[in-house]
């Protein structure tokens, strides 16, 4: 095993340990409300970091991230709800830290991510051949189409008799319509959220500091020049986009199984996509630690601003506008947290920029 792989595995294992501590010690300590905030932060980190791969690294502009989230969420919901019924005859939650239900849930998250990635490929293929704002327009249209189609689906089937008789096609189209996919088991815990956070961040980090990542950044800075250097721009843009869609799908699956949220199409419209874009830009385009930081701050900001009551969102909007005018490069710019000038660093260690 090469040095890098070992190092990454070590980081991942460490993160799993940290996630377990978070789940087992910190969440019970801070109570359910802060616990939910903590899982919300985790999901937003996954979303922001995955969108950074597209918006930050390759400089393409996608406004349909919530659409991929919805796809992942609904696919995972189908598996944990109807799939569970066919596996063990009940749609209820199977309790336990490592119960078969949890296993099914993790599989569902991954499958949700894969389906979202496949759709990302279909959406990205035509639009990423073009240069400019076309991806923005197409992803916007895609997100809206997903929302409209989901709103027209049938109600969720609750009764056991009907479930037994239902065909596959009926089940796939019975995901709740405009009311949302209700009755999903609440498998999402801080542990699983942060395991996926770790996976996302490590993948993003390895990507950024690899030859792939360099090619991405070259595309972002000057697409024509990158092409002249022999970079297959279309293919690389599609890869970044598909990867981002995969993680968005996982975040959607986590969102679907969280306590206190309902997976409904209205929730995952363009407003949600805008929220994620704001995190990416605020963090600094292309900075992973910046995206993480921005996801944390922007999840907590509305809570802090509760003090302003009905002026809350006005203050939020003003902060956003002022931030863009006064610090256009975002919190960290392209650089990571540990590449900032004020960060204490060991002597002799060169930091790549």
């Amino acid at each position: 095993m090469s040095q890098t792989v070992k190092k990454n595995l070590r980081v991942l294992l460490l993160s799993v340990g940290l996630a377990a501590v978070l789940h087992g010690v910190i969440v019970p300590m801070v109570g359910p409300f802060a616990g939910k905030l903590l899982t919300d932060i985790g999901m937003n980190i996954i979303l922001a970091v995955s969108l950074t791969m597209v918006n930050g690294f390759t400089g393409q502009f996608s406004i349909g991230h919530a659409g991929f989230m919805a796809v992942g969420g609904y696919v995972a919901g189908l598996i944990t709800y109807y799939g569970a019924f066919f596996l063990w005859g009940s749609t209820q939650l199977v309790p336990g830290f490592f119960s078969p239900g949890v296993g099914l849930f993790v599989v569902a998250c991954l499958v949700g991510g894969l389906v979202a990635a496949a759709l990302g490929y279909l959406v990205g293929l035509p639009s990423l051949r073009l240069r400019g704002d076309y991806l923005a327009i197409v992803t916007l249209g895609f997100g809206e189409i997903i929302r409209v189609v989901l709103q027209q689906t049938n109600d969720v089937i609750f009764s056991v008799d009907e479930l037994r008789r239902a065909s596959f096609a009926t089940l796939v189209t019975s995901v709740g319509g405009a009311l949302g996919f209700t009755g999903l088991p609440f498998y999402t815990t801080a542990f699983w959220v942060y395991v996926f956070v770790a996976l996302t961040v490590v993948v993003a980090y390895r990507l950024k500091f690899s030859s792939y990542g360099r090619a991405f950044l070259a595309i972002r800075d000057d697409e024509l020049a990158a092409e002249a250097m022999g970079i297959n721009t279309t293919q690389l843009k599609i890869r970044a986009f598909v990867l981002a869609a995969f993680f968005a799908g996982i975040a959607g699956a986590l969102f679907a199984h969280e306590i206190g949220t309902t997976l409904n199409p209205r929730e995952l419209g363009f407003q949600k996509s805008f929220d994620i874009i704001i995190m990416v830009v605020l963090g600094g385009m292309g900075s992973i630690s910046g995206a993480v930081l921005a996801a944390i701050v922007l999840t907590l900001l509305p809570e802090w601003l509760r003090f302003f009551a009905e002026y809350r969102l006005i203050v939020y909007a003003l902060v956003l506008i002022l931030m863009m005018i006064l610090r256009p490069q975002g919190l960290l710019g392209l650089h990571e947290l540990w590449e900032q000038s004020w960060w204490p660093r060991r002597r002799g260690k060169m930091v790549s920029s």
Partner: protein, 308 residues
């Protein structure tokens, strides 16, 4: 046959509203190459502005026929209000970012959009409740041709929209200011060298675009009197469809925006009438994707070569 004609008529009526909004998107994009996401909120402001003006004029709810001057007062007032707003927004939020990366301007636009929506939600502005717009035009049917009802509202909508679009056409292609606008959209640097004040032209573009959106808002409120509260997603959705119209027609192209608006309106209403009324948004966005696959530069725009 009657249904076909009626749908066509409704489609053109709605489409002319989309066209009015799309003009603002396309003019800003033509000059600054950025998608002004706050434009749909200017449209919302136009509708609500007309509501407030109508209330100030003492127009009460049902039945009472407003005098014709009241409708035009509401129209003019809303256009003046939104024109001013457009000017202020460009000056305060977009101009400091003229040379920033485009994404920053976009985020700022989203911020402005959030700001307008939530200021509108305040209790002393428009409030959080939906309202019913007083009838600006008497609800009469002018005549019936081949079973198609020609309602006064639809006639006014189309008449005012067409007048405004002809006015814009004249302004852009037959006046000095219009020539300056075209020059700036062609190349701002060289336009500046030719003695054109680029900042002033950009301001003017925002003012004109906002006034057209305001007119669309007033006409929309006259046609569909149920006004949603200012932060309701329908406003943004309508704006997005108008943006689709601008893209379909060829973004940056004024005539394209008019054509695209009409096309989107007709496609949406034909889909709603003949396929399924629940999937209206689906037709519009599917048209967008088909269009981008087949002719990404839009119906009327020339394909531009990118220069290094």
């Amino acid at each position: 046959m009657t249904k076909l004609l009626q749908t066509l008529m409704d489609g053109v009526s709605v489409g002319s509203l989309y066209a009015l909004i799309a003009l603002g998107y396309t003019m800003v994009y033509g000059i600054l190459q950025f998608i002004n996401f706050a434009h749909s909120d200017i449209f919302m402001l136009g509708a609500w502005g007309a509501f407030v003006i109508a209330q100030c004029l003492g127009l009460t709810l049902p039945g009472a026929h407003a005098p014709l001057w009241a409708a035009f007062a509401a129209l003019g007032g809303a256009m003046a209000l939104c024109g001013t707003m457009g000017f202020v927004i460009e000056r305060a939020a977009y101009r400091p970012l003229r040379h920033a990366p485009r994404l920053n301007v976009l985020i700022t636009a989203i911020g402005v959009s959030l700001l307008l929506e939530n200021i509108g939600q305040l209790s002393f502005v428009f409030g959080t409740q939906p309202q019913r717009m007083p009838a600006l035009f008497p609800d009469t049917t002018l005549c019936t041709v081949l079973g198609v009802q020609l309602r006064l509202v639809d006639c006014m909508v189309m008449g005012i929209a067409v007048t405004l679009m002809l006015g814009l056409q004249w302004l852009i292609f037959h006046t000095r200011v219009g020539r300056a606008m075209r020059a700036v959209s062609f190349c701002p640097h060289i336009a500046a060298l030719m003695g054109i004040s680029v900042d002033r032209i950009v301001s003017l573009t925002f003012v004109i675009g906002s006034m057209l959106a305001a007119a669309a808002g007033v006409l929309y409120a006259a046609k569909y009197p149920g006004l949603n509260q200012s932060a309701h997603p329908t406003w943004i959705l309508l704006g997005l469809k108008a943006f689709v119209a601008a893209v379909v027609g060829g973004i940056g192209n004024v005539r394209g925006a008019m054509l695209g608006g009409l096309l989107i309106g007709v496609v949406e209403l034909f889909g709603a009438a003949y396929l399924s009324p629940h999937l209206r948004d689906l037709y519009v966005f599917s048209l967008l994707i088909v269009m981008l696959l087949w002719r990404p530069q839009g119906l009327l725009a020339q394909h531009r070569l990118e220069k290094v």
